[in-house]
């Protein structure tokens, strides 16, 4: 045996275990997945490309593809930009390491735990969800909530509740004849402490009437009539309208009475302004159909920004000091140094970070599964989740494998590029 030949045998002997592991754990599953993707749900029948056709025609998958595209464009970009910002800024603060540690900490949490945490952050109810609690607090400090949210007309009272939120008398009101405006739907503790028992409206000059909570404990009260013990609604904005124009505006007193003595004649209507009853601002439905994908991307950014920062910081540390210092000596401003010197020098690292994240984002699954509520999962769908549902909910191994093959194909170019970069630069993020 020639030495060269022996060499080859030795090499083969050393490579064999690794090759065996690669074949059983990587090549075989890939091959089997491709085989499954060409077969019926239970793997018994060859169906050709039918699974792929179904995959590209089903609306679920189309939504998943769109969402994946959004993820791939938005998430890596935002994470990389944030990482760069943090990396540059933390170079200048004291307690650098404490700051970096805090930013890096989310990386130590699994996506499952992050998902559960953000479920609480994004909860729609401001009493439970942190984000909505903050938004509502800010909103309410600018525009205070209405006094009687949710109040509505007593059925059969002749009042008309319009779609625009106003409540109007159904029949014309004449001066001297008091109007009754019975409202319901208010819990008794929603009334201000100053509210006094309502009195039946007394006759008198002008347009007058009473606005009150027409409900007694136990439902004992008569509908549309002021019963003893029923409370007036103070501070309701009352408008008197004639042929579409507001001729007077007033507020009810502590017992719900209002009066505009100077008006005479008939044909008026009394209108309670919409502002009295508007539902309180409750924040946004973060995990509803419209916002669910951006919201989940937000939590992804929270998890990964620290990673990008740490890697880019390492890149920053390795750029030559002289370049930056000579730029400063030449009179460049800090902004110019950042834009024209630092960023170009650190670009290879940022690109590697972005591509790594891009690959990572394509496979996103657990965060969406945990964070998106069931009804919004269709809107938040991504390829990974669709693959899971196809394989394990619908028990369709064929379709699930076809999706896996698609995902694999999408990841390949990024992987190939990254492998090349790694070999050339030995950049190890």
């Amino acid at each position: 045996m020639s030495p060269a030949r022996r060499h080859r045998w030795t090499a083969a002997a050393f490579l064999a275990p690794a090759l065996l592991v690669l074949c059983t754990l990587v090549a075989y599953p890939i091959g089997y997945t491709v085989w499954l993707s060409l077969h019926s749900p239970d793997g018994s029948r060859f169906v050709g490309v039918a699974n792929y056709v179904e995959m590209f025609t089903a609306p679920d998958t189309r939504r998943a593809l769109t969402n994946n595209a959004i993820w791939v464009v938005v998430a890596p970009t935002v994470v990389t930009v944030l990482g760069l910002m943090f990396a540059v800024l933390t170079e200048r603060v004291r307690l650098v390491n404490a700051f970096r540690l805090a930013l890096f900490m989310p990386m130590a949490i699994s996506f499952l735990a992050a998902g559960v945490t953000f479920r609480l952050v994004y909860d729609e109810d401001p009493n439970r969800g942190m984000l909505n609690a903050a938004i509502v607090a800010v909103h309410d400090s600018f525009s205070p909530p209405s006094p009687y949210p949710g109040a509505t007309v007593r059925e059969g009272s002749g009042l008309v509740a319009s779609d625009d939120g106003t409540i109007t008398t159904g029949v014309p009101v004449t001066a001297g004849e008091p109007a009754s405006l019975p409202l319901v739907g208010l819990p008794v503790d929603a009334l201000p402490a100053a509210a006094e028992p309502a009195r039946p409206p007394a006759a008198g000059p002008g347009i007058r009437g009473v606005v009150w909570r027409d409900f007694l404990r136990g439902g004992a009260g008569r509908a549309g009539l002021v019963d003893p013990g029923e409370l007036g609604l103070p501070g309701v904005v009352v408008q008197v309208v004639r042929s579409g124009e507001v001729v007077a505006e007033t507020r009810t007193d502590a017992s719900g009475q209002f009066a505009v003595p100077e008006l005479a004649g008939g044909g008026y209507s009394v209108r309670l302004a919409a502002g009295n009853f508007t539902e309180p601002f409750r924040g946004l439905t973060w995990l509803g159909p419209g916002l669910v994908t951006p919201a989940i991307i937000g939590s992804y950014i929270w998890v990964w920004a620290g990673f990008a920062m740490v890697v880019i910081s390492a890149g920053l540390a390795s750029i030559p000091r002289e370049a930056v210092e000579s730029a400063r000596v030449d009179g460049a401003t800090e902004w110019q140094v950042l834009r024209l010197v630092t960023i170009p020098l650190v670009r290879p690292v940022t690109v590697v970070v972005a591509v790594t994240l891009g690959i990572n984002v394509l496979k996103i699954f657990d965060l969406v599964l945990v964070l998106a509520p069931e009804p919004a999962q269709a809107e938040a769908n991504v390829l990974g989740l669709e693959q899971y549902h196809a394989s394990f909910t619908q028990l369709n191994a064929g379709l699930g494998s076809a999706l896996a093959v698609l995902l694999f194909t999408l990841v390949l170019p990024g992987m190939a590029w990254r492998a090349r970069v790694l070999r050339r630069h030995q950049v190890v993020p």
């Binding site: 499952l112 009493n127 739907g185 008794v188 136990g218 004992a220 069931e374 009804p375 909910t393």
Partner: protein, 448 residues
């Protein structure tokens, strides 16, 4: 599946348990002691229960150990018990006995030939203690495989008594009364019905309760087997009632699709009540007790699902049936014991447990509320198993299952009843695997 409260993080827990049980690290395997007829033999039992429920079941198993001398090892599989069983079966080492919540899964296992038919003392105990309905539910293709150890009453609506007092209403007994009560509660401003639409299984239970009352038991059975299409007028009528109630002015809370079941319990019985009623099974009581704000039987009570169009008292139920994988004498003896009134009494006295055992005296239940829940289950003229648990998993049995998803979009006011019925039928044709022709030939129900 649809009967279980705990969902979500189960896969991870199940995986951990899988590893633990594979390595034999699970605690709770007492040395088989005693001198009974089965001394020295070991039985392994798998079920979904953990925590307090596991402890309660353990007490029953301990009694079996004392009586027979056999030792019983308990393995908890969490919500993914079927997956655990499948992997144990693939590995050739299934547990001796398992308690399963889905009749569909039991039928699949029986047809695969991995279950042992109940014979001898076990079969005799089932025949002696269980009403025909429950015997039938444990039977696949004419052979008895399962005994229902624990059952649930899924036809009760829980309410806050202070809200009902404030509004001056009494528990409704008919559907129009329920509408009127809801209306009065809304007028009083004390909150109305909480509908946790973020959990699809809750919505399937809404539909099933209405459908059983509108269409009657025969149609219910036919629909469960997909022998009548989902476009049948009875389905459309039921969906119309559902839509009518859900869209009644102020009848349910805002944005129901964001509300999860556990949060809904807190919204009704927590410290800041926002709603006054919650429809769900007897296990709501455990959640109310966990919150600790109001007392079950005091501030929290229930009424039976109201009658629709004069329908007789009916209950939608669910339950865990014990099946045997290895026909060892000890496993069969355990089944016979679980089917006995003694075992049911032991489990009942610890609370949170309803039994279908007809020889269990009502006095075995520890408190009046549980007794009433059991009463309404045993006295109902019609009892039917949760329909979604009878259908294939892809249709009724999990997140993203067709029936869950479609009812959620219906609650979100997308599409009308007829449109939903058509969508359900299209999904059923796909998920049941067999299309039912216009001639309504019998279709193969259940498993594929």
């Amino acid at each position: 599946m649809a009967g279980s409260v705990r969902r979500g993080a189960a896969p991870a827990a199940a995986l951990a348990l899988l590893v633990l049980s594979a390595t034999g690290c699970l605690p709770g395997a007492p040395a088989g002691v005693g001198t009974g007829p089965l001394a020295g033999q070991t039985v392994e039992v798998a079920a979904i229960w953990t925590g307090a429920e596991q402890a309660h079941f353990r007490a029953v198993l301990d009694a079996f150990e004392r009586r027979t001398g056999a030792s019983v090892r308990y393995t908890s599989g969490g919500d993914d018990l079927p997956a655990l069983l499948n992997s144990r079966l693939a590995g050739g080492a299934p547990p001796d006995v398992a308690l399963l919540g889905q009749p569909g899964v039991v039928a699949q296992l029986a047809r695969r030939g991995v279950l042992a038919e109940l014979t001898g003392a076990a079969a005799a105990a089932v025949a002696a203690n269980y009403p025909p309905l429950w015997q039938e539910l444990g039977t696949v293709d004419g052979k008895l495989y399962g005994v229902y150890f624990k059952v649930a009453n899924k036809s009760v609506i829980w309410y806050r008594t202070d809200a009902f007092e404030e509004a001056g209403v009494r528990p409704p007994q008919t559907w129009p009364e329920l509408r009127a009560v809801t209306r009065t509660l809304a007028d009083a401003g004390v909150g109305t019905m909480a509908v946790p639409g973020a959990d699809g299984w809750v919505l399937t239970d809404w539909f099933e309760n209405i459908y059983l009352r509108v269409a009657g038991p025969d149609r219910y059975d036919q629909l469960a087997r997909h022998e009548i299409p989902w476009t049948h007028p009875s389905v459309v009528d039921s969906l119309s009632l559902l839509r009518d109630y859900w869209t009644l002015d102020r009848a349910i809370q805002d944005d129901p699709l964001q509300l999860k079941f556990v949060q809904a319990v807190a919204d009704v019985f927590g410290s800041r009540p926002q709603s006054a009623m919650l429809f769900q099974a007897d296990f709501v009581a455990a959640e109310i007790n966990r919150l600790g704000e109001v007392r079950v039987g005091g501030g929290a009570r229930f009424f039976d699902w109201p009658s629709i169009g004069g329908s007789p008292p009916a209950v939608v139920t669910a339950g865990d049936q014990a099946v045997v994988f290895t026909g060892t004498p000890a496993a069969m003896a355990l089944i016979a014991f679980l089917a006995s009134p003694e075992a049911a009494a032991l489990a009942a006295e610890q609370g949170g447990f309803l039994s279908a055992n007809r020889n269990l005296p009502a006095s075995a239940y520890p408190d009046p509320v549980t007794r009433e829940l059991a009463e309404s289950l045993t006295s109902a003229e019609l009892v039917r198993f949760d329909l979604s648990d009878l259908t294939p998993q892809a249709f009724g049995g999990g997140t993203d299952a067709s029936m869950w998803r479609l009812l959620q979009s219906f609650l979100g006011r997308r599409g009308g009843p007829a449109e939903l019925a058509a969508q359900l039928e299209a999904a059923a044709q796909h998920d049941f695997g067999v299309a039912c022709g216009p001639a309504r030939q019998p279709c193969l129900g259940g498993s594929r």
